[in-house]
């Protein structure tokens, strides 16, 4: 079912398919949408018979709902979409957060708003990923920049969604999803499964205390579990009018992610301590990386995970820097969060290179912007 370890030349979306299979995905529900469709097509091929279930549903609300349902049946479950479908999924994403359902959502971002640029890349859904559903909640989101990371970070999505019982997002874009490149499938993978109620285990998932992440009651095992999106107690008793139950629950749902930021966050740092630092993520970071690897005076912090916000590496990059450039394919979304952390860490000049239209910033655009900031 999974491809043998080795080297392959594949498309980003195909690498995501392989990562999902390597993680043990058993259920996928999708609805066709560019530029994510290859993921659904790939899993339609592979999830057959005892390998798992592929389902094409009537819309994206149905997809995410079925994926949550499948997760309660004990399956590792995933869906993949892009902007318009992602917007449709928002209510159910909040449900997954509130009901603490491990699910993986791939959003291969395209240009919005609305139907926008179906075949072109953007990073316009970064804030939607964090804030798209109503209420206070936390998610985990990774931003791949290469074909390899489409594989590796899909695996991380499954691992962290299982470990913390939260919706986890692979926030890719049309550029990375359709990019072709080298995929190295390792011999051994670290795969984390949810800690199930009633089963004693001693592996990694147990390093999170039970009062922060409760053991997961799989249906059909006599737990008589009540799973609901309404304000509820630990035993699933709905208490929508009890302010303490609500406050305790919502705080815990947020804390279990925020307190474990260091465990979750992933990044790459080049030229740490440079006076000029670039902070970027996903395909926007590719041009910046070329600049930083060639110019000894320019450093780069490339965020591989963006939610929860990796405050520690941002502060670390900012501490010795005179100026920071943030590169994004939007009008400034992560920029404002980065700016807050960087300025708190003592870097006063934080600027944005914002690129719209569907292509990531080129190395010469990055250099040009750095020049205007007084660097290089």
């Amino acid at each position: 079912m999974t491809i043998p370890p080795g080297e392959y030349f594949v498309q980003g979306n195909d690498a995501c398919v392989e990562g999902a299979l390597a993680s043990g995905v058993k259920f996928f529900a999708g609805y066709p949408i560019t530029p994510s469709t290859e993921i659904a097509e790939g899993l339609a091929q592979r999830l057959k018979g005892q390998n798992g279930v592929f389902l094409q549903m009537e819309d994206e609300i149905a997809c995410i709902s079925a994926v949550i349902g499948a997760s309660w049946g004990g399956a590792k479950a995933m869906t993949a979409t892009s902007g318009p479908g992602f917007s449709l999924m928002q209510e159910a994403i909040g449900y997954a957060a509130m009901s603490e359902t491990p699910v993986v959502l791939v959003n291969v971002m395209r240009g919005g708003p609305s139907t926008g640029q179906p075949t072109k890349a953007s990073q316009g859904d970064v804030m939607q990923t964090k804030w798209g559903s109503h209420g206070d909640y936390q998610v985990i989101a990774f931003a791949p920049a290469t074909v390899q990371e489409m594989f590796d970070l899909t695996v991380e999505c499954f691992n962290y969604s299982e470990k913390y019982r939260v919706p986890a997002f692979l926030l890719s874009d049309a550029e990375v999803g359709h990019m072709r490149g080298l995929l190295r499938v390792p011999e051994k993978l670290n795969v984390i499964d949810r800690k199930e109620m009633g089963i004693r285990r001693t592996d990694e998932a147990y390093d999170v205390p039970d009062d922060l992440v409760k053991p997961f009651p799989v249906f059909g095992k006599g737990h008589k579990a009540i799973i609901t999106g309404m304000t509820h107690t630990e035993t699933g008793r709905i208490e929508p009018e009890d302010s303490k139950v609500h406050s305790d629950l919502v705080r815990r749902l947020n804390e279990k992610v925020l307190r474990n930021r260091k465990d979750i966050n992933k990044w790459e740092m080049i030229g740490e301590g440079s006076k000029t630092m670039i902070i970027s993520y996903g395909s926007s970071a590719l041009g910046a990386k070329e600049v930083a690897t060639k110019d000894p005076n320019v450093g780069l912090l490339r965020l591989k995970s963006i939610w929860p916000l990796p405050e520690e590496p941002i502060a670390q990059a900012a501490r010795g820097a005179q100026r920071i450039l943030v590169c994004e394919m939007n009008l400034g979304q992560l920029f404002f969060s980065i700016k807050r952390v960087a300025q708190d860490a003592g870097c006063k000049q934080v600027e944005l290179l914002s690129k719209l239209g569907g292509e990531p910033p080129t190395p010469s655009e990055v250099r040009h912007k750095l020049r205007s900031m007084g660097a290089v």
Binding site: K26, Q50, A62, S65, A66, G69, A77, F219, G222
Partner: protein, 269 residues
Amino acid sequence: MDIFEFYRKDRWPHVFCPGCGNGTVMNCFFRAFNEAGLSLDNTVFVGGIGCSSRVPLYINSDALHTTHGRAIAFATGLKLAKPGLKVVVFTGDGDLGAIGGNHFINGCRRNVDMTVICINNNIYGMTGGQASITTPHDFQSTTTPYGNKEYPFDLAEIAVAAGANYVARWTTRQVHELTKSMKSALQKRGFALVEVVSQCPTNFGRRNKMADPSQMLEWFKSNTVRRDKAKSAELDHVDLNLAGQITVGEFVDRNRECYEELIGVEKHG
């Protein structure tokens, strides 16, 4: 099994108003479930949002209380991920036919094995009496203060047309027939719908000159026309006008292969 064993008694008092039909529906359902010889431990009850969708929370088994309108989509994923489970959905007319209409027709078409009990009270009960897609023409609701100018959906007929394996409709007045149909639905492989036309005296009856639950049951009784699935029925509808009729009966009972069989998943559950 004693009927009271089905209830999560620690969840009482419940949210249903005096005179609500949900109690009758639950009572009939538990008897049917008992007679069908099913086990609560192996059954998951799925609900959307609404008074009717709250029923799963009072049953002594696993419950998945979901979002408004999406219960069938959640149930589809659950059933396919764990085909050994019995999956039962409790839903309302608004949940199933309005916001969830797309999942409803596609659920019938896809024919995944599940039993769907739709408590059709012809109104949005939980939100306080707004018109629903089954509110009869010219009836009153808080959002149709001049009478409902739209015409209602026939949920059972939609399910027949969309491909469900089993479809029946009764009112809360025909408890024996209702129980029997619920049992048939529970024993059917594939998508099975039992629509129960039920009374909401608080939010429907009160605004339509039937504030007393018994008046509503009287209304059901005098307007019910039975259609047997065996007889070829003349064109009927469930336009619940005061002058109209509520067609009840078993409308379809067939054995299209269910989706799990078609994809071979039930072998691996």
